[in-house]
């Protein structure tokens, strides 16, 4: 990796300031994505702003939603009793990310900010009608994810926390890529009193997306049969050495069925 310097920010405004005063500063959260990128010399930031001391960790039950600090590690979400009680599917999702080491370093904020098309969390943010809280504003899930590795975040914007609405029922079904064990297809199904939200990760050419056909089918009939009635199109799905678009389309249907029936 290229040499760089690290600053430890005391709070998010200090972090924002540090970004502003650097040329190409980057926020360092768990480093699970950023550090390998640096090691492979694919990025050359002049400054890393460590936000681990900004007080951005923790889970808060807000009644109709759960708010989780950006620096909360996947392992902490997986083990949190409030998450388990309010949205068990979210705890399951976090517990299924990567391996033990990754879960003990990787963070919610890092995952959401990175918006890897195969990452798990973005599907939860979408399906649970989440809100991304930054130092500047609140961004709704539907406005936040802008395509592969793209988000609504501005250069000097730091995610402070993410809120997830409590569903009546939810389930995340992940079909892992056998090599990376990221999602080859991950489907998050959340049933709310006013309808069902279905978010798909790992499959879309533009990253995470909501599947409107599955949502409307399930909103009127929350059953496996309803899913079977939907022809999942392969349009807009990724084709790569691991899976073709039509196999991914098949998996979307299959994972949705399993999520619904679980």
């Amino acid at each position: 990796m290229y040499s760089t310097k690290i600053v430890k920010a005391e709070n998010s405004s200090a972090a924002v300031q540090a970004i502003g005063s650097s040329k190409e500063g980057k926020i360092l959260a768990g480093g699970m994505t950023l550090i390998p990128t640096l090691k492979q010399r694919l990025a050359n930031p002049d400054c890393l702003i460590d936000i681990s001391s900004c007080g951005l960790e923790g889970v808060e039950d807000k009644g109709s939603s759960v708010r989780i600090g950006a620096m909360t590690k996947h392992a902490a979400v997986a083990e949190s009793s409030s998450v388990a009680k309010a949205i068990p599917a979210l705890a399951d999702l976090a517990g299924g990310i990567g391996d033990r080491q990754v879960r003990n370093r990787g963070t919610l904020g890092g995952s959401v900010a990175n918006n890897d098309p195969a990452a798990c969390y973005p599907s939860a943010v979408m399906a649970l009608d989440g809100t991304v809280h930054t130092n500047k504003r609140d961004i709704s899930a539907d406005d936040f994810f802008k395509g592969m590795f793209e988000t609504a975040l501005e250069e000097d914007e730091v995610i402070e926390s993410v809120s997830f609405k409590k569903p009546e029922k939810a389930c995340y079904m992940k079909f892992p890529n056998p090599a990376s064990r990221y999602a080859m297809v991950g489907v998050f199904v959340a049933k709310f009193s006013d309808g069902v939200r279905v978010a798909v990760t790992g499959a879309g050419e533009e990253g995470v997306f909501r599947h409107s056909d599955l949502e409307s089918a399930l909103s009127s009939n929350f059953s496996e049969e309803a899913v079977s009635g939907v022809e999942v199109s392969s349009d807009g799905l990724m084709s790569d050495i691991h899976a073709s678009a039509d196999y991914r389309a098949n998996l979307i249907g299959e994972m949705t069925k399993r999520a619904v029936s679980s």
């Binding site: 290229y2 492979q40 056998p178 090599a179 990376s180 691991h242 899976a243 098949n250 998996l251």
Partner: protein, 789 residues
Amino acid sequence: MSEGIGASVKRKEDKKFLTGKGKYTDDINRPGQVYAHFVRSDVAHANIKSINTKAASQAAGVVAVYIGEDVAADGIGGPICGWVVPNRDGSATHEPPHPLLAQGKVRFVGDAIAVVIAESVEQAKSASELVEVDYEELPAVANLETASSGAEIHEGMKENRYFDWELGDEAATDKALQSAAKVVKLSVRNNRLIPNAMEPRSALAEYDDLGGSYTLHTTSQNPHLARLILAAFMFQIPESKLRVIAPDVGGGFGSKIYVYIEEAVCIWSSKKINRPVKWTADRTQSFLTDAHGRDHINNVQLALDESNKIIGLRVDTVCNLGSYLSAFAVAVPTYLHGTLLSGLYDIPTIYTNVKGMATTTAPVDAYRGAGRPEATYLLERTMDAAAREVGMDQAEFRRLNFIPKDAFPYQTAVALQYDTGDYEPNLDKAMEMIDYKSFEARRSEASKRGKYRGIGVSSYIEACGLAPSAVAGALGGRVGGWESASVRVDPTGTVTVFSGAHSHGQGHATTFSQIVSERLGIPNANVEFVHGDSDKTPFGMGTYGSRSLAVGGVALSKALDKVVEKSKKIAAHLMEASAEDVEFKDGKFTVAGTDKETAFGDVALAAYVPHNYPLETLEPGLEETAFYDPMNFTYPAGTHIAEVEVDPATGVVEIVDWAACDDFGNLINPMIVEGQVHGGIAQGIGQALLENAHYDENGQLLTASYMDYCMPRADDLPSFKVECTNTPCTHNDLGVKGCGEAGAIASPPALINAIINALSPLGVSDMSMPATPETVWRAIQNAQARAAE
């Protein structure tokens, strides 16, 4: 005795390895050491128009930058080919040069163009980015399908073919095919694999300008061989001026047999700049430049008579050997593959033709099993297809065609003579272990749960204990196949074994100690094992082809014979008896018919403190060396049976059971043997389900990291049931055969056959490797679509 032959003692070396205390090449540092980093081609095939190293040379910390012209100016040769074969038309294998650094042309992504040597790794990498290479791109030749029609890779080499070799009787075989009651035809592909040793390759070279000699620490499975090739063929320096040390090596699987260009560049530059030079591959370089494995397409025709007995076999193979011929690249698909095509079946006539092709991909060479997995895969897939086509049970069809127990020694139609074997007990035992007879009940139970359950058999034989030198030489090998061992007994009776074999995970320190313990009656803890240093051990051929025990272990046994023989003379003197009357057992010398006895330790002491010693007739000291050249290969054989369940909705294959029954001859340490079998099966499952080196049409390796190249993990594997039978090898003193590769050889066809068996009710009769979920799902979709037509 409980620590001797046959005891499952814990491995001596494990404490070191399990606590992270192993000392690998990259752990070794020398004063004044600098670091090499290679500028590598990022295109598959191109002429190099120019290389500009000026900015790199002036970058911070840079000590030197060298390119191909500098190598050429110093007259340093490239890695050589250790085995060649004649072509069908009598001409020789085409052996194109493999320069240390590209000479005007690059031939695969990862081909080395320049080396940058700097005070730190990071400085070397930064400066490397400043080297400017101007390419004139040429079309890539990325796979076997396009090899013969693709752009010329090596000057003057027609149709990108290194060789076109044959074995067996073509006329007789074709006649058998014509007269057959049934001919079973199958085309199979053996997928391309990347070895992925846990420790990446590394080299540390140091030049001593006072003595004019070099020391190379390197990740080698055979340090003496590396020394011979480097000194005599590449550098043309006295062999004695190069010491090669392979310290702890973290796995090889074949990929660390060969001399690679990086080691040679470190040696060469260490003299030029007179500083120790270290290079260690990062994982990306390992993926790109370690010799890959397999990559065959085999067209098989099996002739059967009316009673379903095999009467002939023809196999036409093309194999991808990559951009340059690696040391044993030619041997693997020919003499380690063509000669195994009889499997454990009585086949009167066999013919095979193998074309070795060049492509603009990494070199391909031996990988765990080396040739025998390819032979076993095509044969066992064909046996499976044949059984299905004639409507026989897959196990019984094999049994019908096994070489009968009373036919040994058995001369195959493809050169090898099997000394001994008994194949039915392995099949019977494996069937019993997996409860073969109740399988159909399990299949119907699974189908109630919506799963397709299948069972697959693979009966294999392999030739290991490489190799009888005269045979290897007659077939084109350029090295010997013997092994060496020295036994040094200390005055106090402790022992150090110096072996020419090299352990990089196999547990030699334990196994070899057990042989000493058994023979000399001393505790295992009193035996040290030294290997991997050309200055310490006798010249040895190293470790590959499951040869360490079958050849190196036997050399040790012969050295121990000499120690015992001399000790008896000393003991006879001490006990005032004649040597013929002295018996040696459990560490004690006795004289028949008397109560005289003397301990091994007393004899050792007398040898070194020869106050009372027959110095007139016997040298003092107790140290013996033996070199052993085997009479024949050894022939482990066995049967593996896999049971799977397939989820038709996703194509996911779950391995639900695995039974392996192998005949490895005598076992020294059954626990280590079982571990080797487990590891081998895991690798075979990796090949069958998960692993695939994927080059795109531009010759870019798309699977150059663990994000894309899928290695087997513990949770991909079932709990294996492993048992052994034993027909001791008839031609070596220990009766041992070798077990290191068997698992990787036997397992892929067992698994693929099981998947086909599971899906056969749908009409599926073929499955390619790796059988990824999508591959399996697609086979189901296609079969259902066919059925619907």
